[in-house]
Symmetry: C2
Subunit: 400 residues, 2 copies
């Protein structure tokens, strides 16, 4: 007789490394302590009114299933959007997904079988682990280093990691959690690797618009590897619309589009109301991003300069996204982040950070690093840094 | 060197059996032929205005991620809803999902490993196949018969299908595609099987409100098997809000809730705008379903009586949902449904049906059956039946 059990997959599925500290934050708040949330990528920036108004004023009688690939009108709008950022695709090469999350899952499902491997420079977005477990895929991390700002690991590191089961490489550009913006040269390096070894390149470009030095060079702009490249995209961060759950799976590989469409059909359609929002977002004035970007840049500058002014702290200047990784003089980032919430306060305030351990595939890595999301205004960032500075003076697990 | 290939899973993934006829329908329309769509479960009934208005008038500045389990306020509302239909759960036993689709996928992912088996009475909702392929799960069909209206197969059929890899049974009640409403006795039979063999019972109750004879008895109302039962639910059909993509995964099994929550966290949150709609829907007046149900009942009666009046046609009277399965005097339902669109018209009109082959797991089954969704008004149903009647008179592949 079989037992009523949780699947091995369900057991292996990682719990969110960021959300595990939530009970400590809640307890701190109950004690009257203000918690500055630099732990998650939920921007405080308002969703553009025009985007929400499009939903408010949409005229329809029946909220019907959309096309499984997303409304054609939205996909055609997305062609305009991609054209503006230098990516030439047609609307049949776009599948609208339920957030970037589903684009990642679809990519893993359609390209990789259980036991197949993807190489991901670490630290990396923790939920890649979750989707890999769902698809039975093995994540093979290769190390990027804080010393050079988490630049792309050398070709030799990829070559050493490649096995007969390797089917692809995943990058996030600009990167969550490091904020690193891959240069055109690094993208060309990736091209040479995927060409040589016939690999997929899964490129998560959720933060494309938020680049502070240098232009964004998309994986979709690489030539000669059109069948290899899969773009995994989302409107979540771009328009501060995380709750919409609208993303896109984009590739020029027709065979892969055909296969992925079957996964899209199984779940019928992406969210309908939010597709209206996404479509309206493409029509935002071109200067929309200027303002948002300027805001994030100011926050980044405040955060990074404050961090590097703290004795023993090192934070490379991130070129994009809205994250920074900092090395701290601490014994263990999990302990430290919990301690910040549980045992520390400064003027009835503290700061919530994400321990970097959750972003590494290699056990034991990231114990002296934390990720900071600069999703709060500059004043709040300064107050949070005041807390961190004081905390590091008194933290019992301080090293060096 | 590895090859750039589609995964085996991607190859095995079934294409939608319903959507494959779409190009023929489009071609017919281009020729000026009116196509009555009885092929898909997209109701023509208006989404309640109060539900859409809730979204239109929602006040917020940032469309944030919701809780991964769904907004607590919505889950608490759902507790009220479930209480009204005789299901006692608390809000921590509900995970809001992206449509019923995601609830099914979560159930398979968290309970079953690749190679594990689920038993499903056939004909069944075709997309169970898709989610099974995604999760690497083997679907083991057992036959239900049109002669007795697709009642639950006997215990012996289940017993014969059970192997050491069997982990669960999937039912849809009332059923898509058959419209069959399982009786309380049949539900108790299922209980005895899952108890004896320690199996999960995945109960898809998307059409709960649409029962035309007899009360709906939910799997969640079975006692003594609280840990075994997983309810997979959706607002799609209930409130004619298919495009919202809001469903629910409901169980009293705490261990399973904990595991499933990790899958929910990986994809961050269910759609935010549509959760507002779902929450408002619970507050619709209690007589909302009376009207909708009366409309479906009228349509069912029209459809079934017309079908059974056609020589050689047999259609059992479905007790629920808005589907009927009919046996036709034809050689092959795939050919026939294509022929209806490609080569037939009556007064510049034709009808689009779903070949039943797509709903059977056993190859070759369903070749003389079609599924009809009574999602059009009675007048349209009569016109569609006029077409079908004429078509069966002249169809070259008619048998008997």
């Amino acid at each position: 007789m079989s037992q009523l059990t949780i699947s091995q997959r369900g057991q292996q599925m990682p719990a969110s490394p960021i959300r595990k500290l939530v009970p400590y934050a809640e307890a701190a708040k109950k004690k009257g302590v203000t918690v500055y949330h630099l732990n998650i990528g939920q921007p405080d920036i308002e969703t553009p009114k025009a985007v929400l108004d499009a939903v408010r004023h949409a005229e329809f009688k029946v909220l019907e299933y959309s096309h499984s690939a997303g409304n054609e009108s939205y996909r055609k709008k997305l062609v305009e959007y991609y054209s503006k950022v230098g990516i030439n695709v047609n609307h049949t090469q776009i599948l609208v997904t339920t957030g970037g999350s589903e684009a990642i899952l679809f990519g893993f499902m359609a390209c990789l079988d259980p036991g197949d491997e993807v190489i991901i420079p670490e630290p990396f977005y923790a939920n890649y682990n979750g989707f890999a477990v769902e698809a039975g895929v093995k994540v093979v991390p290769i190390v990027s280093h804080i010393e050079n700002g988490f630049a792309l690991p050398p070709i030799s590191a990829f070559e050493q990691a490649i096995t007969p089961r390797t089917k692809g490489i995943v990058i996030c550009n600009p990167n969550n959690p490091t904020g690193y913006l891959y240069s055109r040269e690094e993208m060309e390096t990736l091209k040479s690797i995927i060409q040589k070894h016939n690999l997929y390149l899964f490129s998560d470009e959720a933060y494309r618009e938020f680049c502070y030095q240098g232009e964004h060079f998309s994986a979709m702009q690489l030539t000669g590897v059109e069948d290899n490249v899969v773009l995994m995209d989302t409107i979540s961060k771009r328009y501060s619309a995380c709750g919409a759950r609208i993303g896109a799976f984009v590739t020029r590989n027709q065979q892969l589009l055909d296969a992925t469409m079957k996964f899209a059909q199984a779940r019928l359609s992406p969210p309908g109301l939010a597709q209206i929002a996404g479509e309206a977002a493409v029509d935002l004035p071109d200067d929309y991003f200027d303002e948002t970007k300027a805001m994030y840049l100011e926050r980044r500058n405040a955060l990074v300069s404050r961090l590097n002014a703290i004795p023993g702290v090192f934070c490379p200047n991130p070129g994009g996204a809205f994250y920074a990784m900092a090395q701290l003089p601490i014994d263990d980032s999990d302990k430290f982040c919990q301690w910040l919430l549980e045992s520390f306060e400064y003027n009835k305030q503290t700061v919530m950070l994400a321990p970097a351990t959750g972003f590494y595939g290699t056990p034991g890595s990231g114990r002296q690093e934390v990720r900071l999301a600069y999703v709060l205004n500059t004043e709040a960032i300064h107050k949070a840094m005041d807390c961190l500075e004081k905390a590091l003076e008194v933290y019992p697990g301080r090293i060096k």
